[in-house]
Symmetry: C2
């Protein structure tokens, strides 16, 4: 008889960045990393897994399109899940699966979609095959940072020391309720430049960057300790400084790569500049930026500062057409802007449309299983309900 | 009786970058640096120094405008010259000077104008006061990299180890005729962003960048050795790789600074991308880029490759209005462009005007004294011939 299960999994944003593998196949990192899991209310990946004796082969549909099952990372995840299921109960494991997955946010936005996607895949496969115990070491083999999306709150991915990767797992460091007023703004930036994929950028950095070695050996270990202390004591000023420094350190390593891997653009740097000016005006860090392998900014800030910061973002980076679509996600109260614009941006507002839209979200919990027949992405025959041909 | 002397001094472009001081006052660097002196035919600073018993105070005019003599760096240079002159001949040294200086290239272009300016100032003062011996340790106190503009060819500025800076001097490593077919293209880039001055960016990097320490201690010493070998053997491929890597390493340190000091912009990065694509197409490095504390690119290449590279630059970065003003300096032969544009730039030519103009020049000799009354910037009364009021 066929079984079906559907789950959602969150996006995560690293505040201590993962950049560089010590093992390409097992996806073992050169350094620990630490991330905030974002609420699935605003952004999530959703996956349906169906297992049936009627299926003749494993199939997968991503965002409505069937994809090849030859992707070695996908194969590795499914193989590991089946291995675990077999050793547990010996049943069902050789039955074929149909997998259907989609994101509720644009993949093109470059918002760590592969992390949420692989976390969701592995979590849902785990449920479907009745696998228990740590799944992070499996998700890691799909996309390194996916292992950090299997838990809520603040999550640390340990690099581990074993060659087989058995101790390179992710663990929750702080529950999502630990720092309840932490908020996140994702600034989606216009960009036309062709970017280097993070997988190949990372490989090239390991091979060519002198500064990467220093970052991995000397900078990250100390910074990770300090970051955990800042989170523990909920000291936003320190959390912000460490977050911004680690983002810059990561992009510095990318630039030190030969040829350079450049992910931030002029708009990204204007956002950096804006944040530093705002913090200076406030006398302490009220906002922190971090950038992944793309030009979009992720800002951390406390709930009380959201209205003013959003108001200023709209003033300094005016939207193309002001409207509901510019601000998305959690509601934002209107604020009277009293800041002196000259101090925030000496040359006046930027041209319109440099920031396409903003997603307002917060730190949230890990993956969950959805209930009810309507939630599934596959129909009774195991085919996508929404097929893009 | 009054004496007057007028000299010109070159711009230099570092291929191993100077970034970070161990002594702010004496301007002692944290690492050795190495530069190419550019021909004074295309770009130079020009300075007239007049000494007269009739002058009542030291005065200076820069680019036609009188400036305060309170600038401590200017004061330091003049004091050191007078000290040296006194110990030599005891005469003339207390007479007041009038100094008039100008660049034959736009200061706004951000082309290391202070290096050429201070080199010319110190060289001309040296001539006027009859000072002999090393002037680089004096020029260094005006603007660090100025010491490298006192000689032609390839010049190394040694960081030195003495606290008084006496061994932090510049020396010619290779004569300008050593690699006679080396050519230089300076790509002047449009930019509207406010930049961090190199003095304050440097200070901030020393204070905050973890990666700077590693660069200074572990990266630069080895790279400098390799650079000298590449110059010695005239291996352009290696020279180019080292030059590009050092430029990126320096900008990586700037980005790792807190707050980040960002000098390259999207146009700069598009030039980097263009150079790597071109080199890949050619099978070895034919062009090297380097960027100082600004968005302009300086490209090194061999004479035989100039026509094709210039042709491609015009195609990939089309000028606003094609004309004589886009290409300046040494003449360039027309080339038939046979390269496949798709390989150089997957998305077609950039929008027009991203590069404002290009200066074509070569490696040249050090400062020289000019002859004839017409060359002076000051008239018989010691006032500027061209005064901007």
């Amino acid at each position: 008889m066929a079984s079906i299960v559907t789950c959602i999994a969150p996006v995560n944003i690293a505040v201590i960045k993962y950049w560089g593998k010590r093992d390409e196949k097992l996806i073992l990192p050169l350094n620990d990393s630490l991330s905030a899991t974002l609420s699935t209310e605003q952004m999530h990946a959703k996956t349906t897994v169906m297992i049936s004796p009627n299926f003749t082969k494993d199939r997968i549909w991503l965002n409505g399109k069937e994809e090849s099952f030859e992707n070695p990372r996908l194969v590795a995840c499914l193989r590991e899940i089946r291995k675990r299921a077999t050793s547990k109960n010996g049943k069902n494991c050789e039955l074929k699966v149909h997998i259907c997955s989609e994101n509720n946010f644009p993949t093109a936005a470059g918002l760590a979609s592969s992390a949420a996607g692989y976390a969701c895949l592995v979590y849902t496969l785990g449920k479907a095959f009745g696998v228990e115990g740590d799944l992070t070491s499996i998700a890691r083999q799909g996309s390194g940072s996916a292992c950090r999306s299997l838990m809520g709150g603040f999550v640390r991915w340990m690099k581990g020391t074993q060659n087989d990767g058995s101790d390179s797992i992710a663990e929750q460091v702080f529950h999502e309720n630990h720092w309840a007023d932490m908020r996140v703004l994702i600034l989606v930036v216009s960009d036309s430049r062709k970017k280097v994929s993070s997988t190949s950028g990372m490989q090239l950095s390991v091979k060519t960057s002198d500064l990467l070695k220093h970052r991995v050996q000397n900078v990250v270990p100390q910074r990770t300790k300090e970051m955990i202390q800042a989170l523990e004591s909920k000291c936003f000023h320190t959390f912000a400084e460490l977050t911004m420094r680690d983002s810059s350190s990561f992009h510095a390593v990318c630039l030190d790569t030969y040829p350079p891997a450049v992910y931030m653009n002029d708009v990204s740097h204007s956002i950096v500049d804006f944040v530093h000016r705002y913090n200076k005006l406030k006398g302490s860090n009220k906002v922190a930026y971090t950038f992944d392998a793309g030009p979009n900014a992720c800002l951390f800030l406390l709930e009380e500062d959201v209205p003013e910061v959003v108001g200023l973002i709209k003033a300094v980076f005016p939207p193309h057409v002001e409207g509901k679509t510019f601000m998305r996600g959690l509601p934002v109260e209107n604020a009277v802007i009293q800041q002196d614009m000259d101090l925030l941006l000496p040359s006046g507002p930027h041209e319109a449309g440099m920031i396409k839209y903003v997603i307002h979200t917060k730190v949230g919990s890990g993956p969950k299983t959805l209930d009810g027949k309507n939630c599934h992405l596959l129909n009774d025959e195991g085919l996508p309900k929404n097929l893009i041909s």
